[in-house]
């Protein structure tokens, strides 16, 4: 008799999702912005949910994509932190980025990918002590394990809408950007997603990793934007 194989079950669609992540380097650190909604399809199902996870004083991980997968990843990261503690080290952004890259790539090779785009932001411990050369780190990992480092990024629908706008702003000042300037660029970018991305929300938070202050999770903020154009453009009755 021919062997009977059960069907393999795979996640074919993410269920509850987070939208864009926008991150940018400034002189002594990184700022990362996410909105605070988790959608179920197009419905804004859960409000006031943070999509930023503080790993330790040097590393902040932010996600877009499936929320359940990210909750599972938080547990994986927590165990990594404990593994590194066992030999008296705090895991750095580069190491965590490398590890998550391997993990996401291994999962996609099993044809069972984690449905997340991850942004790992942080400062290496030894860079912290050397103020002259302190270079902040932003690393991206897509759900297929494609990974790269950048000075600024927008993921999700923001990847189509915002990268050019963010880059233009970044190039004006380059590495000399202050935190206030970087945050202003992010807020402007959020406003653009708000207009174009129907699952983006106007409640958001800006977290940061600074060489001097470490990880600082942002407070909840709201933006209204300018909706006057809607009156003339949207063919409302």
């Amino acid at each position: 008799m021919a062997p009977v194989h059960d069907e393999l079950q795979r996640t074919l669609n993410p269920t509850c999702t987070g939208a864009s992540v926008i991150a940018m380097q400034y002189k002594t650190g990184v700022v990362v912005m996410t909105d605070r909604v988790v959608s179920y399809g197009k419905m804004a199902r859960y409000k006031n949910v943070s999509r930023q996870y503080k790993v330790n004083d040097n590393v902040l991980v932010t996600f877009g994509g499936d929320h359940a997968d990210f909750q599972w990843l938080q547990n994986v990261i927590e165990r990594q932190v404990l593994l590194w503690k066992r030999f008296d080290q705090d895991i750095g952004p580069k190491a965590l980025h490398g590890y998550l890259t391997s993990l996401l790539y291994a999962r996609r090779c099993k044809m069972n990918p984690l449905w997340n785009t991850l942004v790992v932001a942080g400062v290496e411990e030894e860079e912290k002590n050397n103020k002259e050369t302190s270079t902040p780190f932003i690393g991206i990992i897509t759900q297929k394990g494609c990974a790269y480092q950048v000075k600024h990024v927008a993921t999700g629908l923001g990847a189509f809408l915002l990268n050019q706008a963010v880059e233009d702003e970044f190039r004006k000042k380059g590495d000399e950007l202050t935190r206030q300037e970087a945050e202003a660029v992010l807020k402007k970018a959020l406003e653009l997603t708000l207009y174009h991305d129907c699952v983006a929300d106007n409640d958001f938070e800006i977290g940061r990793v600074d060489a001097n202050e470490g990880v600082v999770l942002g407070k909840e903020q709201t933006i209204i934007g300018d909706w006057s154009i809607a009156e003339t453009n949207c063919q409302y009755e």
Binding site: F87, Q89, K94, S102, E126
Partner: protein, 272 residues
């Protein structure tokens, strides 16, 4: 023939609370030719004395590269040592695959310790008859890690294992304060002077029997062998040898020798 009735199995305690098979394995390590490891703030150096089985034979390699930031030197059963060196290489490469970074030395030491210890606790196994000195450099600085068959894994400022290694340790104890601020070149000379003290009076270090491994800040692990050793040996030759000094190894029975019988007698051909 038997030392006593409790020594035929690693897993059996003697009434004195000792594991004789493990202690015999430590003796095997002590019969291998000596190797010395020292470190400064920024560099770690290992030097080793190679043996040749006979006149027609080449000298056995004693220092292995583990990764770009780490290397190991071996004293004892060289075949066991190569298994462990291969194990360390595998640990390093799988860490690199996982994290895209070199492995921290503490993690490497932990992996090593777990592997060695298992062989002292499971029935039907035997401990590795080999001791290792692992030199490495990571974000915590330079490291020298010493291992032995009893699974004692320790981080050292400077150390030596193998036959007559007590003489080298005597040298290291006298000069330990100088190591921290030494340049890489000075470290090599210190290590070679310590290694020279393990030799009997009629022998000396040569380009054939000496190998050097060095790693440090902005310096990937490098093995220095054969004619490249000569410039360092020339440096060593400017320090005259004091054969009569205690512990200099003029006679196998000198007072400072290792208390174990293996430290003195003629080396077994199997150990390197």
């Amino acid at each position: 023939m038997f030392r006593n009735q409790y020594d035929s199995d690693v897993t059996v305690w003697s009434p004195q609370g000792r594991l004789h098979q493990v202690e015999y394995a430590v003796e095997a390590m002590k019969q291998g030719s000596a190797t010395v490891g020292i470190k400064s703030e920024t560099h770690a150096v290992i030097v080793a004395l190679k043996r040749a089985q006979n006149e027609l034979c080449s000298h056995q390699k004693k220092i292995y590269e583990i990764d770009t930031h780490s290397g190991v030197s071996i004293a004892g059963l060289l075949s066991d040592g190569r298994i462990l060196a291969r194990f360390l290489q595998t640990e390093c490469s799988s860490w690199r695959w996982d994290y895209k970074l070199p492995i921290p030395m503490k993690k490497l030491a932990e992996a090593m310790q777990l592997k060695l210890q298992a062989n002292t606790q499971y029935y039907g196994r035997r401990p590795f008859g080999v001791g290792l000195l692992v030199a490495g450099y990571d974000k915590d600085g330079a490291h020298i890690i010493q291992t032995d068959p009893s699974a004692e894994v320790v981080s050292m400022l400077g150390t030596s294992i193998g036959s007559r290694s007590q003489s080298a340790r005597t040298y290291l104890e006298r000069h330990v304060d100088e190591f921290e601020k030494s340049t890489p070149e000075q470290l090599i000379v210190h290590a070679l002077l310590a290694l020279r003290d393990t030799l009997p009076a009629e022998e000396n270090l040569s380009a054939q029997n000496t190998s050097i491994g060095i790693v440090g800040k902005d310096m990937p692990f490098k093995i220095i062998e054969d004619e490249l050793v000569q410039t360092h040996l020339d440096q060593v030759a400017t320090h005259p040898r004091n054969i009569t000094a205690p512990g200099s190894g003029a006679a196998p029975a000198a007072g400072r020798q290792s208390p174990a019988p293996g430290g003195a007698g003629a080396p077994e051909p199997m150990q390197q």
